[in-house]
């Protein structure tokens, strides 16, 4: 667990994070455009601190981190956290796209690919997340995927001189199956699973 393998979207690929990615992570965490929209994973820090954080993440059995690539370039990161008492559930803890790549549909593509992996490969039964109420792009992506609101916190985050609400969202496996029936990690094999007979007829 801990650091993720490859998950392919249409235009993005989620892949295992490396130490070479950490400079970009640091830059994103220091970017006020990112910080206004979401809680950062870690505060900006020295390169050695980031290496220690990646090592800790690699050892963590309760969460998984991926870097996101598009056209061979690092463009973001995403992290999930499993439920503390229920491994069939997870929380989307972080999803950061480089601000220079915003409004190109890359986050939407990455999230669809990630949810396909979570439901169709890990067989999770529910995925949860929280978004700041003024994060219109995140709200739109969540709505498209099939998330529904189950709680609304008032004046939760302070940024840009004011407080903003927090929306708590969840999506059940049944919703995923209904809305995205064709999203599969692999093509179904049907009945073609019988081993070929080895001898002559």
């Amino acid at each position: 667990m801990a650091v993720g393998g490859i998950i392919k979207g249409k235009r993005v690929t989620l892949r295992t994070p490396t130490e070479d990615d950490l400079g970009a992570y640091n830059r994103w965490m220091a970017d006020m455009r990112v910080r206004h929209l979401a809680r950062v994973w870690h505060e900006p820090a020295m390169p050695t601190t980031w290496k220690e954080r990646l090592t800790e993440q690699t050892k963590d059995r309760d969460s998984v981190l991926w870097s996101i690539e598009s056209e061979g370039a690092l463009i973001g990161m995403v992290r999930i956290q499993f439920g503390w008492d229920n491994r069939q559930r997870a929380w989307i803890d972080q999803c950061v796209i480089d601000p220079t790549r915003w409004r190109k549909g890359l986050a939407s593509d990455a999230m669809l690919a990630l949810h396909r992996y979570l439901f169709d490969y890990l067989d999770l039964q529910r995925v949860n997340t929280t978004v700041r109420a003024d994060n219109a792009a995140a709200c739109r992506i969540a709505d498209r995927l099939g998330y529904s609101e189950f709680a609304h916190g008032h004046e939760v985050f302070y940024r840009d001189g004011a407080y903003v609400d927090e929306i708590w969202l969840m999506m059940e496996r049944a919703t995923w199956d209904e809305r995205w029936p064709k999203e599969r990690e692999y093509q179904p094999m049907g009945n073609a699973t019988t081993p070929p007979r080895s001898g002559p007829d």
């Binding site: 809680r39 008492d85 609101e149 189950f150 709680a151 609304h152 916190g153 008032h154 004046e155 939760v156 985050f157 302070y158 407080y163 708590w168 969840m170």
Partner: protein
């Protein structure tokens, strides 16, 4: 960090936990009567890890932990966790580990003391929590100190053949009942003068 000692009514106090309390906390989490709405009832923590947890909690800058004592005996724990010092928000929790003491108002008193400290000494402006919906005693204890429901998380726990929803709540300084302030914030000595 550990919270300071605060004395409430009817023999209930919250106080800094001791190392021995942490051993007791572990044993409570293995008892069926008090884990209906708490965790998996197994534990993988060695004594050395409990020691480390005690040390970490004491050093933490983003959490405050208290033991709850009733008539001078430790009976539970409470605290404030994941404090966001910029947004001045945190998550609260409470656990009474002695089921024979349920219904005596100990949780209500511990929550009152905890929330009074949070609002009057820490300068926080919001707290939030999760409580199993059938755990009426717990969410009522929190309601009495100003918590209000902000949502319901469906099918959170599976117990004895049925799913249990969870109550999500939030509280603010202005939702704390003004007449409920305990000492030292309510100065009884000046009353009636």
């Amino acid at each position: 960090m550990f919270g300071p000692r605060l004395d409430g009514g009817q023999g209930t106090i919250i106080r800094p936990p001791t190392r021995e309390d942490y051993d007791t906390f572990v044993t409570w989490q293995l008892v069926p009567e008090v884990t209906r709405f708490w965790g998996p009832r197994f534990i993988s923590r060695t004594p050395a890890e409990t020691e480390e947890r005690f040390k970490k909690d004491g050093e933490s800058q983003t959490s405050i932990s208290w033991s709850i004592a009733y008539q001078e005996e430790t009976v539970g724990f409470t605290g404030l966790f994941d404090i966001d010092w910029v947004s001045r928000d945190g998550e609260t929790g409470i656990f009474i580990g002695r089921h024979e003491l349920y219904g005596k108002g100990i949780a209500s008193e511990a929550v009152r003391l905890r929330m009074a400290y949070i609002w009057n000494e820490l300068g926080l402006r919001r707290t939030h929590n999760w409580i199993a919906l059938p755990n009426r005693g717990s969410w009522r204890a929190n309601q009495k100190s100003g918590y209000a429901q902000i949502g319901t998380y469906p099918r959170s726990w599976f117990r004895s053949g049925e799913w249990v929803d969870e109550w999500l709540g939030e509280a603010f300084p202005h939702t704390f009942p003004k007449g409920n302030l305990p000492p030292p914030w309510r100065d009884d000595s000046s009353r009636g003068k």
